[in-house]
Each structure stands twice: as structure tokens, then as C-alpha cells.
Symmetry: C2
Subunit: 218 residues, 2 copies
Amino acid sequence: MHLNIILLEASLELVPKEIVNHPAVIKNAKRRNKKPEDTLLDISLHYHAMKYLENSHKRGRPDILHQALLVILTDPVIKGDIFIHTIQSKIIKVNPNMRPPKNYLRFIGLMEQLLKYGKIPINGDETLMEVTNLTLDNIVNRYDLILLSEKGEKINPEEICKLDEKWLLGIGAFPHGDFSDKILNLAKKIYSISGFPLETQQVLCRIFSACNSILGWP
Amino acid sequence: MHLNIILLEASLELVPKEIVNHPAVIKNAKRRNKKPEDTLLDISLHYHAMKYLENSHKRGRPDILHQALLVILTDPVIKGDIFIHTIQSKIIKVNPNMRPPKNYLRFIGLMEQLLKYGKIPINGDETLMEVTNLTLDNIVNRYDLILLSEKGEKINPEEICKLDEKWLLGIGAFPHGDFSDKILNLAKKIYSISGFPLETQQVLCRIFSACNSILGWP
């Protein structure tokens, strides 16, 4: 079964210039022998530093992306094109063969490498993740975008599994709030798969399980 | 829907005495201003230190428990009794109201507190996790134990959701290998829910989604 996914407004970025000299940022970078600007923004380390950043309620949660990639990339059967659209509008292409590190600290190190050098591994024949120069509009022109949102029309997740390859399933990968107006306007359809607000990992868990149930739980 | 779960041989322990003086253990503890014996065993930090530990292929992966608890404790509808049986045979009772920290480093800190002081929070009216003086035999005398294992009889996960409250669903929370003989002998039934070897988080994701599908995806 083929399922194209884009994780939208993913809470993944290096520490922005505005706070690169904040004591909490410097302290964490020093502890890890890194330059502050080479470290990921993480609210559990940079809570006070982030308070006055624009859109801060959607930023500093790389753990959300980590868990989402673990669900998507460990499924033995369901494959498709995978993109990440970051909160800073970078578009990252993910190789479906990638196995993300289970350990969060290793994942953080890998994402710092990706955002600094543009791809991982830095040198190696098979690229696993790459920051492209695509825009969200470029991507959405290639597929028809479906969004999953609490405000969408309620459907069963099994319906999502029946989409053909021209569809791209957009799932938020940010902690709080809703999609930006720009993204809402790009969507051909907006659906909801629960009466409850679900976290990114729960949404993916339901979708992948529903698709596996259609396939007879391989 | 009620579902009792025990996470078995969970890869959760403080650094054992045998390696408490290993350079890697001391280095990590120092960086976190902790005594070595108060830090969790973690293969991503202690790989070389762990090599000669007994059963090392099943140890040093607290991330597995973290992700399992995130799936179990964030489901809005499916509740039940939750136990953790650790690789050192401690039995931990988990309060279904607990919301585990999403951030892995915070989770690690909490588990270190739990294993050192016996419960979390250390002082507070509602205990969220507690190391009991129960044994696995005590637990298994109260319920009928079903194990999920690759070697079990293949069934659809929906069947698991129909169990009544006398059943206890046992899921491994260790990285490699199979259940110990002791645990295999305690099981009333052994089932498999996939043709593939699944990780703890994937097993839980399938079970909780199957149960939610029976309930009409609330």
C-alpha cells in the first residue's frame, strides 16, 4: 500500500539568531561542545529563551518529528513519498529506507547535521534526508493535498488508506495551535479521524494501523 | 474499553554495580551532576561498558519503555491496569492518569527518581508510578496472562480488545531476544498479531488502534 505523507510546520529548527546568545542556549551548546547556532531549538532546554519568539507555541519540539518518523519509517509494509515541511518552510525529502535512531539524543545530533550541512549522511552514497530548495507550492503542485485536522470532516482512517498516489496526506508536526492560513488554503480536502485532539504520533498510529487492518494485519 | 497491560522485561534499570566505575558511566554522570549509581543504564551512552553484562542484549534501552508509555497513557478512551515488570524483576504500578513527559531527557530523570526513591512524585498526593514489593507471580495470580510474541498463534488485534477484565496482556519491552522461560511458562495463551517482528511501540499502536476501530474511532 502506497501512502504519501508530508509532516507540516514541523517543530524542527536550529536555534534562531535572536536567542543565540541567551545563557540557556550557550550553556547547553557548551555542554555538548557545539556552537550555539549549530544546536536544535528545544523547549525543554530553552524554555525561557524562547518565550518572546514569534509563533513560539509551535516551536522547539523536535521530539514530535522523531516519534512521527519512528512510526512512518518502521512500518514493514506501507510505503510512499515522505516530506517534512518545517516551521521555517524548508522542505526536507526523506528516503523511505531511512531508519531513524531510536535514541532521542542521537536523533537530535543527526538533525543538527542535516540542518547545518543540508543532507545526511554528509558523505555517503545513499542520501537519507535532504533539505531541498523546493517550496511547499512546488510540492502541492505535484500532488493533491489532504489535511488532517480536528476541524475537518469526520471520516474513518480506513478511508485515507484508499487514496491513490496523486494524494499527499498532510499531518501537523507542531505542538499547539492550528495550521497556518496558507496551508489551510492549499488543501483540497480537510478531514478529522477522531473526536479528540490527537498528537502527531497518535494520528500516524491510527492511520498506519487502519491501513494494516485493510491488508489483514501483515 | 478496559485493557490491562504489563510491559515485560522492560529495559529499565540504574547502572549496575559491576560497571559503576566505568569511564563512560562516570563521564555521563558527571556531565549531569549525578552519582553514577543514580543514573539509568543506556546503551547509547554505555555501549562499551555494557558489553560483558549478563543478558546485555535485553538491557540499556529505556527509550522503549518511554515510547510504550506514551502510546498507552495518551489514548483518550482505552484504560486499564498498567504494570511494568523490569528486566531486574521489579514490579512497577503505573497510575493511568499519568502523563509521561514527552521529552526523553525529562523521562530519564523521572525514572532515575522512581528507581532511587521508589515512587514519583517523591512527595505529592497522587502517586503516578510506584515500585511495589509484588512479584510477577503475585501479579499473574490475579489475572490470566496472555503474551504477544512472534512465535504465538496468529490472530487479529481486534480479538485482544474483546478480552474481559480478568486478562492481562503481556508485551515485551526489551530490544532483542525472546521472553524468559519463566515468563513463557506463566502465560495462559501466546498470540502473534503480525507476520513481521514488531517493536513494542508498533505492537501497542496496532492494539490500541484496533480497539479504537471497534469503538468507531472515537
